[in-house]
């Protein structure tokens, strides 16, 4: 294979990135959801600056998890419905690699833009500006964990009615550690404390998810084909 020719997996990554943005669906919907919820918080939790500043980092982080979950339902479903998954199964790459690449493309197309919104939303809600850096790092790593863990749920729920609900039930327990580590890092940064230890734990968990989740998701895809 010549160096100038993209490998099949790179071609799949580029295709998925293009599909995510072409419809405008995934990233824009998740981003709009994120901003919408962030805008509703002062209306429901009360607009007093002290109270908002206290909950802002945690809320920004929580809404990030929910927005990621919302967009994951459609990770494999279109390809499964229209027969593309049948064809992807006939390539040289195993289905675990297909799952890994699709989750990576989802993270780049949806997770990363959401992560950029997270510090902005937290600061807009009154959190101190110094949390922006840790918040961005935590949101990027957390989004990576969400995308790969969510891929397991998305693969296992293929063909099930109310698939989105199933994803939430399957994946939510796995999302607990990144939410705890991420929120702890952001909380520590808000109070000027040491936030790197929590961030390191979050990074470790995200890397574990990236390494292990594709195999489970690939097995789920294989099961959905039969």
């Amino acid at each position: 294979m010549s160096a100038r020719r993209p490998t099949p997996l790179l071609a799949l990554f580029l295709r998925d990135m293009q599909l995510a943005w072409a419809g405008g669906g995934g990233p824009l919907l998740a981003g709009a959801f994120y901003l919408g919820v962030a805008a509703l918080v002062p209306l429901s939790a009360g607009a007093s600056p002290e109270r908002l500043a206290a909950v802002a980092p945690g809320l920004a982080w929580l809404v990030l998890a929910l927005a990621s979950l919302l967009s994951l339902e459609r990770l494999f479903e279109p390809d499964w419905e229209d027969g593309a998954l049948d064809l992807l199964a006939q390539g040289r790459a195993p289905l675990a690699a297909v799952a890994a690449v699709k989750a990576a493309a989802h993270w780049c197309a949806t997770g990363a833009p959401l992560a950029l919104l997270a510090p902005a939303a937290a600061v807009a809600l009154g959190a101190p500006v110094r949390i922006a850096g840790p918040m961005l790092a935590a949101a990027l790593l957390g989004g990576l964990a969400f995308a790969y863990l969510g891929a397991i749920g998305a693969a296992l729920s293929l063909g099930a009615r109310r698939g989105g609900l199933l994803i939430a039930v399957l994946v939510l327990p796995l999302l607990v550690p990144p939410v705890i580590f991420g929120a702890a890092a952001v909380e520590a940064a808000a109070h000027g404390g040491p936030w790197l230890p929590s961030l390191a734990l979050l990074a470790a968990y995200a890397l574990l998810a990236v390494a292990a989740a594709p195999f489970a998701a690939g097995a789920g895809l294989r099961n959905a084909l039969g």
Partner: protein
């Protein structure tokens, strides 16, 4: 390069029901099988089982090369083209982009058929020429930059068929390949299948009409 596909005492279940059992066949290079039978007889399921998308309830599907038997997974990953009733084409992408993606995904068979000139893959320039000629062979040149959702049903099927030519893989599994095509394109696609068989390819196609090639009929009857 696979040269033979065979099934031995194959049985398939679908939805808790036995579709057929004790089915055997052997297919050699240059041969084609036309799967016929009433709706629900299991034509598509048999194709899916050969493609590894459905696990047989009993029996074996084997692939062999001139050197001897080869692993089914290896054969499926490198030597098999699948054309299902769902074509997997994305409506929001152009015909050329979809064809390029799938030709990159299926790639080139590692061992070439002897004597086959075939598309050379020496660089992007040459590759573009190959894809252009494939689009031309299926009458899609003027639609290369059309979004797939704007193609007619027949044009869309021709784009799905174009994938078979964009990268060489010896075994074609086709589910109702001709259904939405008009008489002229049925003839042309028949010629395409002929050329594939002449190059030593193998074709298994589920059909209701007769195939425009000399194919052995394998009739599935509901058990």
């Amino acid at each position: 390069m696979i040269t033979a596909v065979s099934a031995e005492a194959l049985a398939l279940d679908r939805g808790g029901r036995r579709l057929f059992e004790d089915l055997s066949f052997h297919l050699r290079p240059g041969e084609a099988i036309a799967l016929t039978g009433p709706n629900g007889a299991g034509k598509t399921s048999l194709l899916r089982a050969i493609a590894g998308l459905l696990r047989p309830a009993a029996g074996q599907i084997r692939f062999a090369s001139a050197q001897g038997p080869i692993e089914a997974d290896e054969a499926r990953a490198s030597a098999l083209h699948w054309l299902g009733s769902a074509d997997g084409l994305k409506g929001s992408r152009t015909a050329a982009a979809e064809l390029r993606f799938w030709s990159e995904w299926t790639g080139e068979s590692p061992v070439r058929l002897s004597g086959r000139g075939g598309p050379e893959r020496s660089g992007p320039e040459r590759e573009r020429t190959t894809l252009d000629s494939v689009l031309d062979a299926l009458g899609l040149t003027s639609h290369a930059h059309t979004e797939v959702r704007r193609l007619s049903t027949g044009q869309r099927r021709r784009l799905a068929l174009a994938r078979l030519l964009a990268s060489f893989r010896p075994l074609w599994l086709l589910d109702e390949p001709l259904a939405p095509l008009d008489a002229r394109w049925r003839t042309r696609v028949g010629e395409m299948m002929h050329a594939h068989l002449d190059e030593g390819g193998l074709i298994i196609a589920a059909v209701h009409d007769t195939l425009p090639i000399g194919a052995r009929e394998l009739r599935l009857e509901p058990a």
